[in-house]
Point group: C2
Chain length 288, copies 2
């Protein structure tokens, strides 16, 4: 059995198929509720600030969410030549949205999460992530993102960047990893449009990354890049995103714009952008 800690409570997340677990010491549970979609819990941790879990899986902590959110937003936004219309599927905690809104090029940011309670609880327990939710460029829709994207497919060229800020590919999130969903994204994007999705751990989920890439290719995307970054509270502490484009090569990184950015970040910068694109030997055999 695991630790018998008489004086500390722990939140534990087990990766059963990998035989590993990550735990955070908690002061107290602040909230728990069963929504029509999932069970959301909020804890106050000892050293990671607040913690949100969905169905027992760690979604984010106050302390380390900055890496993930900055990478999910700035990596694709500084790759697209002029991102104006951005859609975020999932991401109800609004951390990615906040980073997206730091870009002046962005004229409209539409966040679509199936569960309004994620956003309402984030407003309460992670207010810093929701600070920009009232920006006039923002639209929030609490509806099914897959159904929304299926409809949007009939409006080709209506989106510059789609960010899929999803949970793991189990349960309702699973459909967000299929060729059908990617095909709808492909249709809704402009010619220079980009799709980016979190693609789990390079150590634990290489097969999933390969499946995602194959499904993106099957949907018509012809240029892909899987980038990597640390994410301490996610399984293995090592995470990735996969970027997909419709043209034969991905647009060049807007290096000067990233270097001259006028907003603050805590992980991302020009050098980190380039660094995240390096492909370790163990991922070199990924195919499109």
């Amino acid at each position: 059995m695991m630790l018998a800690q008489t004086d500390t409570s722990w939140f534990n997340e087990i990766q059963a198929t990998e035989g590993s677990a990550f735990s955070l010491a908690i002061k107290r549970k602040l909230h728990e509720e069963k929504t029509p979609y999932q069970t959301i819990a909020i804890y106050e941790t000892l050293h990671f600030g607040n913690l949100m879990t969905i169905d027992g899986i760690l979604m984010l902590t106050s302390r380390d969410n900055f890496i993930y959110h900055e990478m999910m937003a700035h990596f694709p936004l500084f790759t697209h030549p002029e991102p104006k219309r951005v859609v975020i599927i999932g991401g109800g905690d609004c951390g990615t949205l906040r980073e997206v809104l730091k870009h002046d090029t962005v004229k409209a940011a539409h966040l679509i999460d199936i569960d309004e309670r994620v956003t309402r609880l984030s407003e309460q327990y992670f207010p810093e992530l929701c600070a920009a939710n009232h920006d006039p460029r923002v639209a929030l829709s609490f509806i099914n993102g897959i159904e929304w994207m299926a409809k949007q497919a009939s409006q080709p060229g209506s989106i510059d960047l789609i960010i899929v800020d999803s949970t793991d590919p189990i349960g309702p999130g699973e459909a967000l990893f299929t060729a059908d969903f990617y095909r709808d994204c492909f249709s809704a994007l402009t010619k220079q449009g980009l799709l980016v999705q979190q693609s789990e751990s390079p150590l634990f989920h290489k097969k999933l990354i390969q499946t995602m890439r194959s499904n993106m290719t099957a949907a018509g995307f012809v240029s892909l890049h899987t980038a990597q970054f640390p994410q301490p509270t996610y399984p293995s502490g090592w995470w990735s995103l996969t970027l997909a484009g419709k043209e034969s090569t991905l647009p060049g990184f807007r290096e000067k714009a990233a270097f001259n950015k006028t907003f603050t970040t805590h992980y991302y910068n020009k050098d980190i952008h380039l660094a995240s694109m390096a492909i370790p030997e163990c991922l070199k055999n990924l195919t499109p």
Copy 2:
């Protein structure tokens, strides 16, 4: 309390000051012994191969040690213009030594670990890491590395590269993080010589990284670079090394040599080398 797992045994490592823990599911304990220096245990895990712990702290697993060992060896070796004489302080598991020996420039590699039992147990439970131990270029000494380096200080210019592959800065390993030890390293190195040391987690141990850098500077080193990489089974899953040189700038990365390397790696390559040097915003305020 943590998980009550009736059907699985877990090795747990708690970071008390960070309120986090990492666990590996184990099949069985293969060995445990108390040496004159420490308690070494070997476990067979469910999905990480074998696991070595020292005084209850995770040292390495079969599955993910490759990242750390490749970075500790190839990063400094492809930075030094012509590394011939290499000394490894600690590193008794011989994983770093194996990587060092892949370099043809290396004429002599001297591993100095205080505890011979670490190496003997590694030969038994991590034989792949010890496969090159009988290379004629190798010398193994099971003595106190701090005392050895103090003597070596009277032979200036006798070492091209010192790799400090140490445990955490607690207990006997603590002296390996002091200006006194770094001063002896400085004396023993050639003018172009380099010192590299594992420098813990950028998320958890930023103060320690700063202290190491300050101590290296106090010892006379004038060019420093802290590089980062993922290390899934180490605290926070995000790790670093710090490289120190005696000249005003570190030697340029031998990019072509790294690109044309004739040996196999599983994480390290030319692009990863450059990537590891990127400094995230949260580490930008480190001073020499």
